[in-house]
Symmetry: none
Subunit: 200 residues, 4 copies
DNA sequence: AATGAATGAGAATTCATTCAT
DNA sequence: GATGAATGAATTCTCATTCAT
């Protein structure tokens, strides 16, 4: 043949499609949440619906792939935060990274807010995101910057307190309410145990 | 006569079904949220789906009927809270009443958490629940028991911070996590403005 | 017992119900056409739906009973028209009687306008209404008051030409359009055969 | 390559189905009126019901698509009629074109005969069909070929007089009765006002 | 005998997933 | 390999008719 082997040509094409699908799915899930139809994603990607199914056997697996990429980025951000000298600032930076992704992405909000759905994803987020964040939490707590009557395992719920406030303005790229209520939560975390928290 | 009139006899049966429908709907909406099908509710009530439509012309009206009862109870609780002498305790009592109903009922959570759905109900909750709660909030703030950089209009979001933590255990009749994180939030509210909250 | 026998008391009651059902059905069919629900008729009659089914095994049979009464009245009107001295005026009077009933009664319009429904009723109307009207038509034709290229069997279609125009104003007790277009049709009937009608 | 592109190959199949759907819908609406179910149309087309919804988002839009084609043809016929030299013949030709389509199609009859349904379509027919026909009517009237006590706005009702007679034989491709009674109506229209029409 | 209640059989519409080309 | 097309399984809601009291 005149050019590269047809095999390679196809792979280039296929990869381009793969990328467009992922990008379109990302955008669509972010905007519309999990309820978005496969057809809409295909439309945005400029491919046929069946092409999506060639790569991703189900809608959930497509979502999983999106999450995977995002979680990878998040892992990097958290690693960067971990390198910060001040434990409290490190924790806040890590939390901010998570919150930013969530508030920019409707389906991310749904995944952590809603019960009984996307369980597999939740597990993965626990392992890859909340475990390293817990380390930061413990460190800040050990340094006396966080009240003692909280446990690192509560981090998912604490973060949810903040992201829940962003549910109604997820389109805004800078979710002002999330920033505001994270500050409020931070005050609570720093409170030198003035009250007795009932067991969770 | 010794027995009741035939009119009443019929009503007994009908009322039993009516009660079963309401109970089943309550339970199903509480467990599964608004997405539950009428068929599922009918199954739980032991009646045909069309029977539900006899009493409740649409799914939304069925939901509304259940909400209405709950909101009525809530109004009483809030009124009772309003009668408490200490403004701060009054506010907490009112919030607790709302949170208890929300955490016991998935669809109640959805109504307040999700945007673009059940708008009519949201309006009703605003008028019948959040308005009286805002009064309590203002009172507590005027008495110096709540930091000054918060506004009563933020009450829905603040409450959402707490209820969001109960999303994953809404079936539990005593939502321990909600109680715990309400206490945490209370600490934040009472903080004498140690940090500057960014605008929401 | 103090009053009449319970047997007779019941029959009086039953007859009153029967009358109310017929009256309500008449009114409801007249206003809303055949699409009216049995429940609506029952509501207007002040009885339960099942009571209607006790007397009339199906909705169609109920309709039939209504028609039966109306057709009886119509027979009388036509008989009266038949007694009129002038054949042309007699025919017009008969036609007017039919048209009045039709235009005052939506379901009557439907029965004659629509194909494939209420076939049994159509047959009955043919026998009890159109046959005597045809006699009047033939008489008027024999007296030279109607053009010769029409046949008495066409009477149903000719009348339909008029009633069709009343479809959109059937609520009006005096259907002005029907009167107007009956006059127009009358001109056509009286035309001394100026054109050659193609076969129908 | 010898064969067409795969793009086009697919479209051939789809187009065949599309054609079958339109043909089946046309036929079914013509035979059974608007009450025909989508399922029945799908059955006749040999496809699943959902396939119809792929092309036509609602039943009404499917109907509209079919109407649209017919009305387009009708517009051409009326334009051709308008070009005829004799105003009376032009009007008759225009009316005939409309009547032919109506009598061949039950749902077309329903659209004009029944009140309160297919309002959007009625509007479109008014603009695209009755307005140009009214011009023809006025012209014929101005030329003295139509009695003066009629108004162009009565055209819909006048035509309904004719089509109503075809209601019971709408499947017949050549609606003999409509032709016959149009001729009868024509005589009435041409009558040099021998009677006084009551107001409609 | 009377009735309100109950329901089964639809009807329109949607969407994740599979198939034919 | 890719794709538009096709569809089965749901879901909400309606109504003539039957049933339990």
């Amino acid at each position: 043949m005149a050019t590269t082997s047809p095999d390679r040509a196809l792979r280039v094409d296929a990869q381009r499609n793969q990328d467009r699908i992922v990008a379109a799915a990302h955008e669509a899930f972010a905007e519309l949440g999990y309820e978005v139809t496969i057809e809409e994603i295909a439309r945005r990607a400029g491919v046929g619906a069946a092409t999506i199914y060639r790569r991703f056997p189900t809608k959930e697996r497509l979502l999983h792939a999106i999450f995977d990429t995002r979680i990878g980025e998040l892992e990097l951000d958290i690693a960067a935060a971990t390198a910060m000298p001040d434990p409290w600032e490190a924790l806040l930076a890590g939390i901010r990274a998570l919150i930013e992704i969530q508030t920019a992405n409707m389906v991310f909000l749904q995944a952590l807010d809603q019960s009984g759905v996307m369980l597999e994803l939740k597990d993965e987020i626990n392992v890859r995101v909340f475990e390293p964040l817990s380390v930061l939490f413990s460190r800040a707590q050990a340094s006396g910057q966080i009240r003692g009557d909280l446990d690192p395992s509560e981090l998912p719920l604490l973060i949810q307190m903040v992201t829940a406030t962003a549910k109604h303005t997820p389109t805004c790229p800078t979710p002002a309410s999330a920033v505001r209520y994270l500050a409020l939560l931070a005050d609570a975390l720093r409170t030198p145990t003035p009250s007795v928290l009932p067991p969770g």
